[in-house]
Amino acid sequence: MLFIPPWDEVIISAVILAVIAVAVAKYGVPRYLKVLDERAATIEGGIKRAQEAEAEIAQIRSGLDGEKEAARVEAARVREDAKADAAAIVAEAKTKAGDEARRIQEAAQRQIESERRAAEVSLRQDVGVLASDLAERIVGESLKDSALASRVIDRFLKDLESQPVAGKGA
């Protein structure tokens, strides 16, 4: 009796177990496995996307690094150019200034020279006239003979010319 079930007992048990089997095996387990697979797929997809994003970021970062390097090189180049330009400009300016100074100096010297000459000529004439006047007054009437006078003056001027410039005032 304990180990041999009556038939109606077996039938009820079988029906009960069939209902449980349908609920568990046909409904519960498939839905469990489905959501399990979906979740696994989502997680795998998420991991894959994260890896892709990481790779992309690495790529962009390496690109940025390249650009930064390029910019650094460019900046260095510009700086070098600027330094060279500045040196050239300074050198040019120095040369120009030197030339200008020389030119101004030369012009000044030339002017000084011409003015000195003019002064010399004018001085020579004035000295001749003054000396002649003086000599006239000293020698007076005796020296009214013009021929003699001009001879004396010429001789005087000759002497004057043969003397150094410093002695002109005497």
Binding site: L2, E9, Y27, G28, V29, Y32, V35
Partner: protein, 273 residues
């Protein structure tokens, strides 16, 4: 039957001591008279009702847990997945390859949840009996398990090789087969389903009598006992609580063992030697 049923009754009555107004449970309780007849042969009794209630509860819980499965689970779905995941990972994948575990999960899960639902009624108030105390359900499940593992073995190895592997263990001297073959046959093809059946049924019967005995003793001692006996009644009440917890554990454990062994038998049947 009367000889079997009188044994626990006699034991419990002597241990209960007081006799008198105390009615100790007997095995007859497991075979209550029908309260509903369909035709001449079909009868519906209290244990059948308990079965139906357990089944409806299980189906409802599965429906509630699995009705809206989403990637981000609700609390109900999490619980459902936890239970399914336990059968999947702790039972199926512990004894089979992952691919095979997926294939046999519906079967093993049916055993686990079915046995658990029908066991747990033993501790539920007003139901107070597990229908697995009757042999029918354990026996049907054991037969299904037997069919499943034999079918698996034949499918993987072929009938001849499967029988040869199981009945004539390799490495033994030829004359030993006189001894080994009957033992192997008995242990693999007879004792496996029998032990599955008896282990489950006996556990449920024992649990039922244990709990009923404590409940009956407690109510008798507290109501009819005088003075000191009321104090003993408090002790048996505390013990009742402990044994209810224990029976909840046993209900789960037996479901686990039944499912685990079935899964292991199927896994072993398909193994290459």
């Amino acid at each position: 039957m009367s000889s079997i049923s009188s044994v626990p009754a006699a034991v419990l009555n002597t241990s209960g001591g007081e006799g008198g107004g105390m009615h100790m449970p007997t095995l007859d309780e497991l075979f209550p008279g029908p309260f509903w007849h369909i035709g001449d042969w079909f009868e519906f009794n209290r244990l059948d009702l308990v079965r139906v209630i357990a089944t409806v509860a299980l189906v409802t819980l599965i429906y509630l847990g699995a009705r809206k499965t989403r990637l981000v689970p609700t609390r109900g779905q999490s619980t459902f997945e936890l239970a399914m995941g336990f059968v999947h990972k702790q039972i199926c994948e512990a004894t089979m390859s992952p691919a095979l575990a997926r294939r046999y999960l519906p079967f093993i899960a049916t055993i686990f949840f079915g046995v658990l639902a029908l066991n747990i009624t033993g501790v539920l108030p007003f139901l107070n009996v597990s229908s697995n105390s009757l042999v029918a359900v354990p026996m049907i499940l054991a037969v299904c398990a037997w069919i499943a593992f034999v079918a698996r073995g034949i499918k993987v190895h072929g009938l001849g090789h499967y029988l040869a592997d199981n009945l004539f263990p390799k490495g033994a001297p030829k004359w030993m087969y006189v001894l080994l073959t009957p033992i192997e046959f008995l242990s693999t093809f007879i004792l496996r389903p029998v032990t599955l059946t008896v282990r489950l049924m006996a556990n449920m019967i024992a649990g039922h009598f244990l709990l009923t005995a404590f409940f009956v003793m407690t109510s008798y001692l507290l109501i009819d006992g005088g003075g000191l006996l009321k104090g003993v009644g408090l002790l048996t009440a505390a013990a009742s609580f402990v044994f209810v917890c224990f029976e909840i554990f046993i209900a789960g454990l037996q479901a686990f063992i039944f499912a685990m062994l079935t899964s292991a038998y199927i896994g072993l049947a398909g193994e290459k030697h």
